[in-house]
């Protein structure tokens, strides 16, 4: 146990717009936690900052007791903090298997795959995410749901300690959402800390025991989903958007 990720006073400005404003939170090892907020709240920006894709204007990020502010994305990944993208990003002209192999070829992934070999390890991940029968196809022909799973498979290939999932359910049918649910739960049961965003609470309601709600770059509240859903400011933030459960 103990704190695995500690974010303090994180601030990011784009020109005049403060996308993330004095944002602080802590995540315990093994926790399963959600981050919600309406469109443009700054969730993706928070992930970009934590994973090193963007440099914060102020604030610090500590991962596993180490200051990772300003490290490059691949360095952070190799420490065990891995993120997925809201708009799936696969390697279009490589087979699905190779897509995962790339992650297994990172220093951290390599260490994990040492015993069984890269190909074997990547295939194993593919069967976990349910894409093994499509291993030799290029991702461009996969349906969106499969791409989401591939995205998680790619992240899993690096053997993460904590996984940042950026809206893994967006644009999916109910069944596909169920698949991903199950997949994420399995990862969580294996001890991976999961930090997941969504812009409606309904998606995360049955999944996570704790939710951080944010609006205009700030934390509104932090707690169990029921409480968050009924929080006055959260309701306000979502007002005119069809409510929290839309």
């Amino acid at each position: 146990m103990g704190v695995i990720l500690e974010v303090k006073n994180l601030t990011k400005k784009f020109g005049g717009l403060t996308a993330v404003n004095d944002f602080s939170f802590e995540i315990q090892r093994g926790e399963f936690i959600g981050l919600i907020g309406p469109n443009g709240a700054g969730k993706t920006t928070v992930f970009n900052l934590i994973s090193g894709f963007e440099k914060p204007n102020a604030g610090s990020i500590r991962f596993d007791g180490m200051d990772i502010t300003g490290l490059k994305p691949f360095q952070i990944v190799n420490l065990g903090l891995v993120r997925t993208f809201q708009l799936v990003r696969s390697f279009h002209y490589m087979s699905v298997l190779d897509n995962v192999s790339v992650a297994c070829l990172s220093p951290r992934g390599k260490k994990a795959a040492e015993k069984v070999g890269i190909d074997q390890y990547a295939s194993r991940i593919l069967s976990e995410v349910g894409l093994i029968d499509k291993a030799r196809f290029p991702p461009v022909i996969l349906p969106h749901g499969d791409l989401r799973r591939l995205e998680i498979g790619k992240a899993a290939g690096t053997n993460p300690q904590i996984l940042l999932l950026d809206e893994p359910f967006s644009g999916l049918s109910y069944e596909e959402q169920e698949h991903i649910h199950a997949l994420i739960r399995r990862l969580s049961n294996e001890g991976v800390t999961i930090f997941i965003t969504g812009h409606v609470l309904r998606e995360l309601m049955n999944l996570v025991p704790r939710v951080i709600a944010m609006h205009q770059g700030k934390v509104i509240t932090d707690g169990p989903p029921q409480e968050v859903a009924n929080h006055k400011l959260v309701l306000e933030a979502y007002l005119g958007r069809g409510g929290v459960f839309a």
Binding site: S51, F53, K72, P73, F74, V77, N78, V82, R83, T84, F85, L87, R89, S90, F91, H92, Y93, M94, S95, D98, N99, S101, V102, A103, L105, S106, P107, R108, G109, I118, R136, F137, P138, V140, I141, K154, A155, G157, T158
Partner: protein
């Protein structure tokens, strides 16, 4: 929203501009399953590709031996040298997505260094060639490090700027004492008394180079290269140190381009600053575009078409043939435009498909 605009917007959103050479339009082959890799050499020989390769090699060896024609041998030698050069560009641009327009830098450095070592130090050609290639690798580092931060068209122009800096430097005669001025270095000893032997040396070097290049792209490092090409930040998010691997790609590519350059000067027994011109980078691009991007072996076909077929077949065409002989660049510019505009896949893949049907037919399948 009008349909056209919506399409534009979705293009903008999906970031299709990042793709290389507009490949997205040539998705035909992508809908096919990517075949398993063949592991052993013995197995490979009996595959379609394997037997075809062996046939081609035998054919290439036999032509000069049968005709005993120096002119044909010379043309074949150019073809071999430039196929290595084109393949080295393909590794960098087609596989790693680093579209360099300054590939002539490596070619030229290899050519100059090899020539200098043969001429001044009297080293045997083979060692000079290796030294030329190694120096090209170092130059690959020097060019690569600053250019790594550049993407797409910036990289293209940045590398091109490098090649022109070198051209001007060598033209200016400020390096006169070591590397000759505008006229460059000439009067190198021949690689061997007999042109056929030279040809065989170069053929062997070319085959070895291709084997190494193909092994590289099929290995883990090749997988990483392709990942960087397809989506650099996704590769970053997969924990890959993209800077390091791009630099490796620059170095490997520089090495083989350096080999090609060294062979070029050793074979023509002279070298002058024009090897740094954008024209030589252009040659590589044309040949790769002809053969097919990201294929490595396509470079052989591209170089063959460029040096042998275009050179030879245009001759009987009379006037137009003459135009090609005198202005090959003119024609190849047109070819390049046509290829990129209408046949981005190059001719290797379609050609192989047709040949394969024929092959299956011969075997009665």
């Amino acid at each position: 929203m009008p349909k056209k605009i919506r399409r534009k917007l979705s293009d903008a959103v999906s970031g299709s501009k990042n793709f290389f050479l507009g490949i997205p339009r040539a998705t035909r082959n992508l809908y096919k399953e990517i075949p398993h890799q063949v592991k052993s050499f013995k197995e490979w020989i009996f595959t379609f590709r394997g037997s075809l390769t062996i046939l081609c090699i035998i054919g290439t060896i036999l032509i000069p031996l049968i005709t005993m024609d120096d002119y044909i041998t010379t043309i074949l030698i150019s073809f071999l040298i430039f196929s290595i050069f084109a393949a080295s560009w393909d590794l960098l641009a087609g596989f790693t997505g680093q579209t360099s327009f300054g590939h002539s830098v490596f070619f030229g450095v290899g050519a100059y260094v090899a020539a200098a070592f043969v001429k001044m130090a009297g080293l045997p050609w083979f060692f000079s060639m290796i030294i030329g290639a190694v120096v090209a690798v170092l130059v690959g580092l020097i060019v690569g490090i600053p250019c790594l931060r550049l993407k797409g068209p910036y990289l293209a122009l940045g590398t091109m700027a490098f090649s022109l800096i070198l051209f001007n430097l060598f033209m200016s005669g400020e390096l006169k004492d070591i590397l000759g001025s505008t006229e460059g270095i000439s009067g190198l000893p021949a690689m061997s008394e007999d042109l056929i032997i030279t040809f065989l040396y170069i053929l062997i070097i070319m085959i070895i180079s291709f084997v190494i290049l193909i092994i590289i792209i099929k290995s883990n490092i090749g997988t990483i290269f392709k990942a960087i090409r397809d989506d650099e930040s996704a590769a970053d998010a997969s924990g890959i140190n993209t800077t390091k691997y791009k630099l490796i790609a620059f170095m490997i590519s520089g090495f083989f381009a350096g080999i090609a350059g060294s062979l070029f000067s050793l074979n023509s027994r002279a070298v002058n600053p024009s090897v740094f011109l954008a024209l030589y980078s252009f040659y590589a691009i044309v040949m790769v575009a002809l053969g097919g991007l990201a294929t490595i072996s396509g470079s052989v076909l591209g170089a063959f078409v460029y040096w042998v077929i275009l050179n030879e077949l245009f001759k009987p065409l009379g006037m137009w043939g003459t135009v090609f002989l005198f202005f090959p660049t003119l024609i190849s510019a047109i070819i390049l435009v046509i290829m990129i505009r209408f046949a981005e896949q190059g001719i290797l893949k379609p050609a192989l498909e047709h040949l394969r049907e024929f092959y299956d037919f011969l075997l009665g399948r």
